[in-house]
Amino acid sequence: MKTLIRYLKVYRTILRLNLVQLFTYRVNLINSIIGHTVWAAFIIISMLLLTSRTSSVFGWTRNELLILAGTYNIILSIFYFLFSRNFNEFSNTIHYGKLDALITKPIDIQFLMTCMYVSYTHVIRFILGVGFVIFILNQMHMVFTIVTFLWFILFLVLSIVILYSIWLLVMTITIWHTKLSNLADLLYEGHSVSKYPQEIFKGASWPVYFILFPLTLIVTIPTKVLLQKMLLGDIFWPIIFAIGLFGISRRFWKFALRYYTSASG
């Protein structure tokens, strides 16, 4: 409990510093907001275009697919808000030896490495996503109960944990290969897999399906909750992957750090 309070205090300061930083460069702020809005819009528009000539894809109606795209915006915006900038900085932090300064701090290094930077501007994408999803749900005359809401929040959190773990797992590789900064780009592109219905991957060869499986969960399952189509079997995979991947990624990070402290010059 005491540790938790301490970390919250540190995080409060981090949030404050990031806020100050946000307003330092106005042009930067404006550009980020334009960029995020454009991307949020692109996700929705591309789904509209993809479904403009077809009434359903793998049993998903057009409106359902639009909810999927909106939920994708919501989940990604939270992840980008909290973590993505940290992972962007990963290879730089390691390459330019800033990790050395972090290692001598009396606090969990993974926490500092993955939580130091916050991107407030992604709030815009979050708001757009939530607004759009509510709009479409209304059009579909879906009832939205508090129970649905709580389930949705639960799976949202699990999805963020899964995303975080995948990123940590992959970006930790930069401890060995600091030049591989474009692994981040690979992951950004990899996300896009999750904005399509899980069913489309069932025909793919099994290694592809196996690798992509956790990514196909993160948006599809929360969307199913919203559409009240969740099945009992859908509950387990997100929980298993969230716990499992988080544990594995943390271990891998610690292993890499041990390598770093025994081999680096």
Partner: protein, 260 residues
């Protein structure tokens, strides 16, 4: 154990040098492959077979590396914002052509790689590649492709020199990226778009950057349509060249006026 270690170290070495390129390569295939999977589930493909759709996306990737230049960031950031342009202005060559020839060499190297991949893929998945066998269409396609290369170059150059007026052009570049994604044909064949969009999109320059070169090569256009594409491309190239020249003169005045 020792041999495992040695093995790992060797793979690491081979890995290290090629790895960055490999990552870029992998990355460009994700979205198109997912989209191919997506279309398998679509009820109505607008008269296209799934093979045609698959070959469309494969051509977009392989031809895309040849056609799509990325020098706008070099112009905007390295040359205009960080002041690299000054050195070029002192030389007795046109900046435009210096950029063109340095970019074109990249395009041809990357295009060669793209061609090689395309060639290999045909060997392995012949049924997934639909392209024209008619010599006339092939020749016209090549003309279209070369014109597209120049069209993209001029367009991206204009985007780059926007930095004369914008302190940070990132927002503009993101917007451009998204527009190209939709209207240049990366997302899907423009023929699948709703009619009302199709009625105006062909007047824009974007479809001529990737989409038309690809479907021309696929053999989906008639002779008349092919000549029409060439005509529109020339119109856009001329327009952009004039625009670039005007912007360039004003921009350079502004740039030297500030005195970087």
């Amino acid at each position: 154990m020792r041999y495992v270690r040695i093995f790992l170290l060797h793979t690491q070495e081979v890995f290290e040098e090629r790895s960055r390129l490999t990552v870029w390569f992998l990355l460009s295939w994700i979205t198109p492959l997912v989209l191919i999977l997506f279309w398998r589930g679509a009820k109505n493909l607008g008269g296209w077979t799934i093979q045609e759709i698959a070959s469309y996306y494969l051509l977009v990737i392989t031809m895309g590396v040849f056609l799509m230049s990325h020098h706008e960031e070099i112009i905007a950031i390295r040359d205009i914002q960080e002041g690299g342009l000054t050195a070029y202005l002192l030389k007795p060559f046109s900046y435009f052509w210096i950029r063109f020839f340095s970019e074109i060499s990249y395009r041809f190297v990357q295009g060669a790689i793209g061609f090689l991949i395309f060639f290999l893929l045909i060997q392995f998945f012949p049924s997934y590649f639909v392209f024209t066998r008619s010599p006339l269409i092939l020749i016209l396609s090549i003309v279209i492709i070369l014109l597209s290369l120049f069209l993209v170059f001029v367009f991206k150059s204009i985007m780059g020199i926007l930095a004369f007026w914008l302190t940070d052009a990132r927002g503009a570049f993101e917007a451009m990226g998204v527009i190209l994604m939709m209207f240049a044909g990366y997302l899907m064949p423009l023929a699948f778009f709703p009619m009302w969009i199709q009625s105006f999109v062909y007047y824009l320059p974007f479809p001529y950057m990737i989409y038309f070169p690809v479907i021309a090569f696929e053999g989906k256009l008639t002779d008349v349509q092919l000549f029409k594409v060439i005509g529109v491309e020339i119109v856009w190239i001329v327009t952009f060249c004039i625009l670039f020249k005007k912007m360039w003169h004003r921009g350079v005045k502004k740039y030297t006026g500030i005195g970087q």
